[in-house]
Symmetry: C2
Subunit: 494 residues, 2 copies
């Protein structure tokens, strides 16, 4: 019975993320209305199915024929997007019955406002049951699936490219920022859903779906309060054996709880209890949106470390000192390198190198020793995981020099070209190491975040290989700690 | 006597930062050598004084006539930049006597390597005393003064614009990254010096100079170990009454201390003792490079808050919840708004607004209520400081739409133009509020960091008014906490 129910949910949610046709109920010709902007985003995103605007007063909207009601649409639609005013929503849901599998209610003004409006939300839920239709929301900002349908049914104008990372968020605002952050970072998202007030479908339903979804490798979540905490944790326990769930919990403090109660209307329980439940269920709890994406990108690409013994390769002493401090504070061990490793490093570094960990590449223009150093650390028995600091400095010099008359000097040109080549070889070595040695290797660069114009070529090579540099050592160290905890969790349950 | 000594140091260091002429001893025609790249950076940066390359084997370097020795230079130079091999440095320093006021020794390979090389460093110090010349370094990466001399005598190719923030760093590598970060952030630096091993001039000498320097409003510092801890704290105590000192301390943990001892050769003492001394001396201790720049930018521009009562204006509920959590965790009070303030907000927000703090602007396209909301918070007696979250989303939609054929729709164009105008008005209001009300107002935007291409116009307006948005609420909250502590310190000593 449970098995059947589960596959039913999975099938329904597949209609949500990959609908063959979409109706927009409350579509509008007025660009100041979501009824205009949501189908507009669908069209800009290149949605591959059919779009049916529903509005009794219009003939066409965005060059698409409009229909007076969903009943008039000539074929069944999978997904109904609802943006009509709150009091009309239950009736619209009823009308969707038999025509749509699932409705996503953008409209706000339900349980989040107070007990009176909560009654309307209960009406909505009853209407859904009667019409045999599942409901996302209300009070949400849309759904996205970057592949294969290219569904960007969203309030914000966000069009991230595909990446096997999926997000379910109780806050549309947090979800929108995550999508935007991914675009800025040059990565993407596979599926996103704003779960809203969860009048019908709950967070755990999306977790179930993502578990079965071959296109999702890492599951992200923003939660303010669980509609059914016990069920959520039960499902999470089942999911996290196979795929990691990374979660931000909003409302962990008294001030946050007050804010949450006026936002999604959720009553957060004790933070200590919730954190303990998350730990037991294998949920990786993170503190903010940066950390959510940071951890997701590493889980997607990097092997898990066997332990907490860290090797650091740095392009400067100060960076090495600061990163060692961070490691100590975070319970990562800056391990003493074995004689075998030191000898390997002696072979590639100048005689005055510091013979310690962090391994300081020694100020200088040539980065030809990076390959030997990274391989020495990656093959060292005493090293579980590696950080590489300071990539991107060589090519930034090149970029500045190329715009000056001095670049006419052929020797300077040659030197610059060699330093770029050295840097490109360095990042190619990083990619090789991640693929060859079974150890996580996180790259830190202050040039990590920005648009293409801003990016060094070296960083582009890393990113096109799925390795996203972290803008600060602290952020990379936090990620490494989560990777270690994930490994420990999997060991414990195996 | 002390007064005279102090002014002597100030005068000497003015020759370091604003030299009328510079000699580069060890200049080279080989682009792979610092003897080439440092004068190259001087030229690219547009240094306004004369550059004298010193090399007995060359006639010219970088189109500048070369001289066999500094003695052959036809006029006194203020600053000698030294890049000759370590054993030659003491003799070169002697030769500078009478010709230069101050020498900056880039060359490494002194005390940081071990006791034998420390002897050479002592030789260097003795040579400086005998020749009556002050020395910066050795083992440093240069000096910078963006105005008026445009001196970029640096190993890294960094050319930040002017800003009344100055930095003295015991790590050239950390210093270089700070300069690069400032360029990426769109801000700048006034003066920068890499203090290196501090064989002669110490960190506190630069503090003294910055105290007297009318072009420095905020003093930044990276320290691994003080040559004379008591003196450093004495000077700091004198300085921080007038100008804030913000410091990163490298080597605060056992692992960091090990790394520091092989870097600058400094032996860090107890972290607890050092932290306590910093607190007493009014030094603002920060954890990393991002925080160093974050705090500097706020200290430069924002008034100090009278207390820790926070008002938050947010463009979404989830952001509000997460920021409330961060406030609680950091000891900031998300204050309950008074009836007076609530009534002012009622007048500008739709009837269903949340009537609480954070003030949620309510999802919607019009931002016309920002002005009224910010003014209500800024004038509220119960609010000491303000955060504004979510700027930059309106114009990001505009940017995407402008590239689509849909933009031909005149109504859509009008709507987009209005939303851009609303956003520009919002940031203009932010600038007005910072100037009118005596309360700090920190802006948070995930679009905060990147190059021009990446920047929304709204953010450019803020930045051209000296208001730099923070990329995450956490970073802004950490800054606010430091502003509060600075205010408390000034109150205590007044």
């Amino acid at each position: 019975m449970e098995q059947q129910l589960k596959s039913e949910i999975s099938e329904t949610l597949d209609r949500l993320f990959n609908p063959r046709a979409v109706a927009v109920i409350g579509a509008s010709k007025n660009p100041g209305k979501w009824g205009f902007l949501i189908p507009l985003n669908l069209r800009i995103g290149g949605y591959e199915g059919k779009i049916y605007p529903i509005n009794p007063k219009e003939k066409e909207i965005l060059d698409l024929p409009a229909y007076p009601s969903i009943a008039d649409v000539p074929e069944p639609v999978d997904l109904a997007l609802v943006v009509v005013p709150p009091p009309k929503v239950p009736q619209v849901i009823r009308e969707c019955g038999g025509k749509a599998k699932i409705a996503l209610v953008i409209t706000a003004g339900f349980g989040e406002l107070g007990p009176k409006e909560k009654e309307l939300e209960d009406d909505l839920a009853r209407a859904a049951k009667e019409a045999d239709i599942r409901v996302v929301g209300p009070n949400c900002n849309g759904v996205m699936c970057s592949s294969p349908t290219k569904l960007y049914a969203l309030m914000p104008a966000c069009f991230p490219r595909h990446e096997p990372i999926s997000l379910a968020s109780q806050s549309g605002n947090v979800g929108g920022i995550m999508l935007r952050m991914s675009m800025r970072r040059g990565c993407g998202f596979g599926k996103y859903v704003s779960t809203g007030n969860e009048a019908d479908l709950h967070m755990e339903d999306y977790f179930e779906y993502f578990l079965d979804d071959p296109d999702t490798e890492v599951i992200l979540s923003y939660v303010e309060g669980a509609r059914d905490g016990k069920k959520l944790m039960e499902v999470a326990r089942k999911v996290t054996r196979h795929k990691p769930i990374v979660m931000i919990k909003g409302g962990r403090t008294p001030a946050g709880t007050v804010a949450a109660s006026s936002h999604t209307g959720s009553l957060a329980g004790s933070d200590a209890v919730f954190s303990a439940m998350c730990r037991q269920s294998g949920i990786i709890l993170v503190d903010d949106m940066d950390e959510l994406l940071d951890v997701a990108l590493a889980l997607k690409r990097q092997p898990l470390p066997k332990g907490k013994r860290v090797g650091i390769l740095t392009t400067g002493g100060g960076l090495g000192v600061l990163s060692s401090d961070v490691c100590d504070n975070m319970g990562l061990e800056v391990v003493r390198l074995s004689d075998t490793t030191l000898r390997k490093l002696d072979a590639v570094l100048p005689p005055w190198w510091n013979r310690g960990n962090p391994v300081d590449l020694v100020a200088g223009l040539a980065r030809s020793s990076v390959k030997g150093c990274l391989e020495a650390l990656a093959s060292a028995e005493e090293v579980d995981c590696i950080f590489m600091l300071g990539i991107g400095l060589g090519s930034s010099r090149a970029k500045i020099l190329k715009d000056t008359p001095f670049y006419e000097n052929p020797d300077l040109q040659k030197m610059i070209e060699r330093s770029i080549e050295d840097e490109l070889n360095s990042v190619r070595t990083v990619v090789e190491c991640v693929e060859t040695f079974n150890k996580p290797l996180l790259v830190v660069s202050d040039a990590a975040i920005g648009t293409e114009k801003d990016k060094e070529t070296a960083l582009e090579i890393l990113e096109s290989n799925g390795i996203y540099p972290y803008p600060s050592f602290r952020r990379a160290a936090i990620v490494m700690r989560h990777l270690i905890e994930r490994q420990q969790f999997l060991q414990k349950i195996s």
